[in-house]
């Protein structure tokens, strides 16, 4: 491809970048009382991006921009999903930010730039463009975590996130440079070619892999690189936590898929055991430590860690089924996490953050409908059928057993049983205890509607799971 046509597959990214700049500029000229326009512009930017994506749906796999950019069904699916998730995040965030005098255009602009970074990561076909996207996303997220600048906790979380994140990206870069030394290329296609010729116990490739996986594991929040995650989840304002817990997880999935699976898939024998260790540790630490948490955001942070363990197990399986399961699990997790953090936003109001588990006490008496939504989400995260989370776990377990590692599957289900306890705790306080807080829920209609749909999606995709499974399967065909 040459001339302008080589840019065509990246239309959505180009549009998103321009749109984010337009939102940033127009926000400067808006009076405080017209700030809502920024919100609508941000949503319009996402909608436009989604339309661009739909209009440039790749027919198969297209590598362009001198091998730096790839458009394939997977990138299409993940990007569209990211658009939707970010739009929902903005919607959940709007009233929350308003009620706390934090309704500033920067939240939306940073969100859009982070989305752009995620897009670049999803479509990366070279270690360099991957790194570029990673940094764009990370820098936006660091700033977003510190968004509430009067909060010492947020500042601490942002510092932690930034420093640890810098170390992780440093590791990633170091691994990349060794990989370059071994394979002589940054292009993932060429790396894949050379990797096929390497010995799987070659010391150089093992060192490169270790450093790259440290970077990936950090972004995912896999044990033992999870230290930042609980503090950031707790310290950031909930709409930012929501962003990190959902859209950023799609980016992490894209990162591991592009580098480890597409680039170094031939070396499955080298990285499978590394991933197995990360996965088992994540499931163990995540599930066990979550039991001890009283803060819901912290608990969800540890629950994220355990879910990441499952996603890594899917990748570890090393088969098409395993990769599909990992993609499916990530999408399912994003839907569930969106609803869970949405519930925290729903219950919070000016001067009151519904972050403690006790704040959900007696919710069934206050609002049977939203108690039921939370019940669905919690049982789904615990992996109880007929809810979405069960099929996600199931797909991963099936892939792991098919790969002949039945004992890892047994470990996975055992830790899920331990994990069930803390999800049940939420249901317990909602249904079996009397409310401590009797204030009626104050949330706008669109938040209620979208949150309800989000929760019902967890149930609907549980009774009819084929839709989402088919999407993930088709993306990796």
């Amino acid at each position: 491809m040459n001339g302008m046509t080589q840019f065509a597959p990246a239309t959505a990214e180009i549009f998103l970048m321009v749109a984010a700049c337009v939102v940033l500029l127009s926000d400067l000229f808006l009076a405080e009382r017209h700030r809502i326009v920024t919100y609508w512009l941000a949503l319009a930017a996402l909608l436009g991006t989604a339309l661009c994506l739909a209009g440039t749906a790749p027919d198969g796999r297209v590598v362009t921009l001198s091998g730096a950019f790839v458009a394939d069904p997977l990138s299409q699916l993940l990007k569209l999903f990211t658009c939707g998730v970010v739009a929902v995040t903005f919607l959940y965030a709007r009233d929350y930010l308003r009620a706390r005098d934090l309704f500033k255009g920067e939240y939306f602009v940073l969100g859009l730039f982070a989305t752009l970074g995620i897009f670049v990561m999803i479509s990366a076909h070279s270690m360099l463009s991957l790194y570029l996207g990673l940094e764009l996303m990370s820098l936006s997220l660091y700033a977003m975590v510190a968004f509430n600048r009067d909060s010492p906790m947020a500042a601490e979380a942002a510092m932690k996130y930034f420093i640890l994140g810098a170390i992780a990206t440093g590791c990633f870069l170091y691994g990349t440079s060794i990989l370059y030394g071994v394979t002589g290329s940054l292009d993932l296609g060429e790396i894949a070619q050379r990797a096929g010729e390497l010995d799987r116990l070659d010391i150089h490739i093992l060192v490169a892999l270790s450093f790259i996986l440290v970077g990936v594991a950090f972004k995912f929040g896999a044990v033992p690189f999870h230290m930042w995650l609980p503090d950031v989840y707790q310290g950031a304002i909930t709409p930012v936590t929501l962003f990190i817990g959902t859209a950023a997880k799609i980016a992490s999935l894209a990162m591991i898929y592009r580098v480890v699976v597409e680039g170094l898939g031939e070396l499955h024998g080298s990285w499978a055991d590394m991933l197995a260790v990360l996965a088992v540790l994540s499931m163990a630490i995540g599930n066990i430590v979550a039991i001890a948490q009283d803060n819901l955001k912290r608990m969800l942070a540890y629950s994220t860690i355990s879910h990441v363990g499952f996603i890594l197990l899917g990748i570890m399986a090393g088969s098409a089924g395993g990769y599909q399961a990992a993609v499916y699990y990530t999408l399912a997790y994003v839907i569930m996490a969106g609803a869970a953090f949405g519930m925290i936003i729903l219950l919070s109001r000016r001067g009151f953050e519904a972050e403690a588990i006790d704040d959900f006490r007696g919710l069934n008496a206050r609002s049977p409908w939203f108690a039921a939504i939370m019940l669905i989400v919690m049982f789904s995260m615990a992996g109880v059928p007929p809810l979405l989370g069960f099929y996600a776990k199931f797909a991963v377990l099936a892939a792991v057993i098919e790969a002949g590692r039945t004992w890892l599957a047994v470990a996975g289900v055992l830790f899920s049983v331990i994990g069930a306890y803390y999800y049940l705790r939420i249901v317990k306080v909602m249904y079996f205890e009397a409310p401590a807080d009797t204030q009626p829920l104050a949330a706008s209609l669109d938040l209620r509607v979208v949150l309800s749909l989000n929760g019902l999606l967890v149930l609907g995709l549980g009774i009819f799971p084929q839709a989402l499974i088919a999407l993930s399967t088709a993306a990796l065909r």
Binding site: P385, F394, L397, A398, V410, V417, A420, L424
Partner: protein, 504 residues
């Protein structure tokens, strides 16, 4: 009635959708919610009757089958069907649910709509368990049961309800996940989730052993077998009356059903190799738990332990097959053991349900389950006493009641295997009579114990109705068990023929 109606789908989804409707009615319009719940339960019972009337007892194949694509990506099908094992259990479910709805009519005052909705949804899910022919579908229904039951015990239970319901959930969840792993393993090996295919699939001995143990973890907890029975007394004691009835009458049968549907036919050689384990655990349940029941002060706890002992008979009947074969060299006794187990399951469903309802009647009036709080109840509640004595006799296995048939068949089958098995199993006739009748004596007879007992009112029309229907069922099944035994004869014969064939 047209013959092409998707009867099983109706039976599953009618109560679930009806339950959602009841939920939507809301607690503020409780009377309407109650009537709606009763209407849905009655309709489901009516809809389940054709299952019995049009059931063809001459074939062991699945009947009333439905098959539709569900998750093509996993090759899992929405595949339903019933045979002689599941048909009676589905009828038991629809029958008991109606009674539970009626029994909760007045005694449930907090959140009645949610209460009735939970039971209706649970009913649909349980029917789904009994009618699933696809292993993944089975598992989905199997686990889904936990959600409404968790809520039922936790919201409407007694003082220690939170502890009891968490224990119940985690115990059963832990047991089930091992089953999930082995189902996936079977799918990888055989390429299908279709249960009849799994039955026919050859497996090596090591595989069979591991799969058998995984199934055992799931089913033994549900039955429950000693030593994983400890959740049951807690759950029973703390659950509301309706919850106890459903638990005892139907949920415990899930374990026995699982053995019949999965363990025996999928892993026959492992079942044979480990039958010493199953027989010992069953006999321990019968004898040891019988003694434990004897010393209980709490009526619900006593009935809970008696349930465990009675379920020991079920597992004994199911796993005695190979000993009979070894001892007599003939396969005739095997079916007798299986039949005994099945009849015992149905009969125990009726009797334990009735016993819990009786305790519920007393609890509604006195708010105590302690045996010592009562005494001389027969003086103030003669009608109630008559029913209670009848059900107690049935629980003790008196001939003429349904309790006798199952126990008798299992003991008879045990005699064919080994005299000592039969002798130990038969101790239940003494122990069962001892703990049940001793409780009856202390609660019903003697002088009126205190003023609250003196002030008791006899059962009302609603309670009379529920108990008399159960009494009729217990007597009918005891005097004329032939229809039930005939309906399952062919299916059980086919199962018996299948399990004695080695898969190695």
């Amino acid at each position: 009635m047209p013959t092409n109606l998707p009867l099983l789908s109706i039976l599953i989804w009618l109560p679930i959708l009806g339950g959602l409707l009841v939920l939507a009615t809301g607690d503020r319009r409780a009377p309407l919610a109650r009537q709606l719940a009763l209407a849905v339960a009655m309709l489901t019972l009516l809809a389940s009757l054709p299952l019995w009337i049009r059931f063809d007892p001459t074939t062991a194949a699945m009947q009333f089958t439905e098959r539709a694509a569900w998750i093509p990506a996993f090759d899992a099908w929405y595949h339903l069907g019933v045979d002689g094992i599941s048909m009676p259990l589905i009828l038991l479910t629809t029958f008991i649910t109606v009674l539970v709805v009626i029994a909760g009519w007045q005694s449930i005052t907090s959140r009645p709509a949610q209460y009735f909705a939970a039971f209706l949804i649970l009913e649909g899910i349980m029917i789904g368990v009994f009618s699933a022919v696809d292993a993944l579908l089975f598992y989905v229904f199997w686990e889904a049961m936990l959600i409404p039951m968790f809520i039922i015990i936790g919201v409407w239970g007694g003082e220690r309800r939170v502890y009891a319901t968490l224990k119940f959930f985690l115990y059963t969840f832990l047991g089930s996940v091992f089953m999930l792993v082995s189902l996936i393993y079977l799918r990888v090996a055989s390429g299908s989730y279709d249960i009849p295919t799994l039955h026919a699939w050859p497996l090596g001995m090591t595989e069979q052993m591991l799969i058998f143990l995984a199934f055992l973890a799931a089913f033994a907890v549900k039955v429950p077998m000693w030593p994983v029975h400890t959740w049951l007394p807690d759950a029973h004691v703390e659950a509301p009356t309706g919850g106890s009835v459903i638990l005892a009458a139907i949920m415990l049968k899930m374990g026995g059903y699982g053995f019949l549907r999965f363990s025996l036919p999928v892993t026959p050689d492992a079942s044979q190799a480990l039958d010493w384990l199953m027989i010992s655990l069953s006999l321990i349940a019968v004898v040891y738990i019988g003694f434990v029941a004897l010393v209980q002060n709490d009526m619900k706890k006593l009935i809970a332990y008696s349930s465990i002992a009675h379920m020991g008979f079920v597992t004994l009947g199911l796993f005695i097959a190979w000993r009979i074969l070894d001892n007599t060299g003939a396969a005739e006794g095997i079916v007798m053991g299986l039949q005994g187990g099945m009849v015992q399951m149905i009969s125990h469903g009726l009797i334990s349900g009735a016993m819990f309802l009786c305790v519920g009647v007393l609890y509604d009036r006195m708010h105590s389950r302690e045996i010592s709080a009562y005494g001389g109840v027969a003086n103030t509640m003669p009608w109630f006493a008559a029913f209670f004595v009848l059900f107690a006799m049935a629980n003790a296995g008196l001939p003429g009641t349904s309790g006798f048939v199952g126990e008798f068949l299992v003991i008879l089958a045990s005699f064919k295997a080994n005299f000592w098995y039969a002798a130990l199993a038969a101790t239940t006739l003494v122990l069962g009579a001892a703990y049940t009748l001793w409780m009856v004596k202390r609660v019903l007879y003697g002088e009126v114990a205190n003023e609250s007992v003196a002030a008791l009112e006899d059962i009302g029309r609603r309670e009379f109705f529920v108990l008399s229907i159960l009494a009729a069922a217990v007597l009918l099944l005891g005097l004329w068990p032939a229809p039930l035994i005939d309906a399952m004869a062919v299916t059980l014969q086919a199962l018996a023929d299948h399990v004695v064939q080695s898969k190695l």
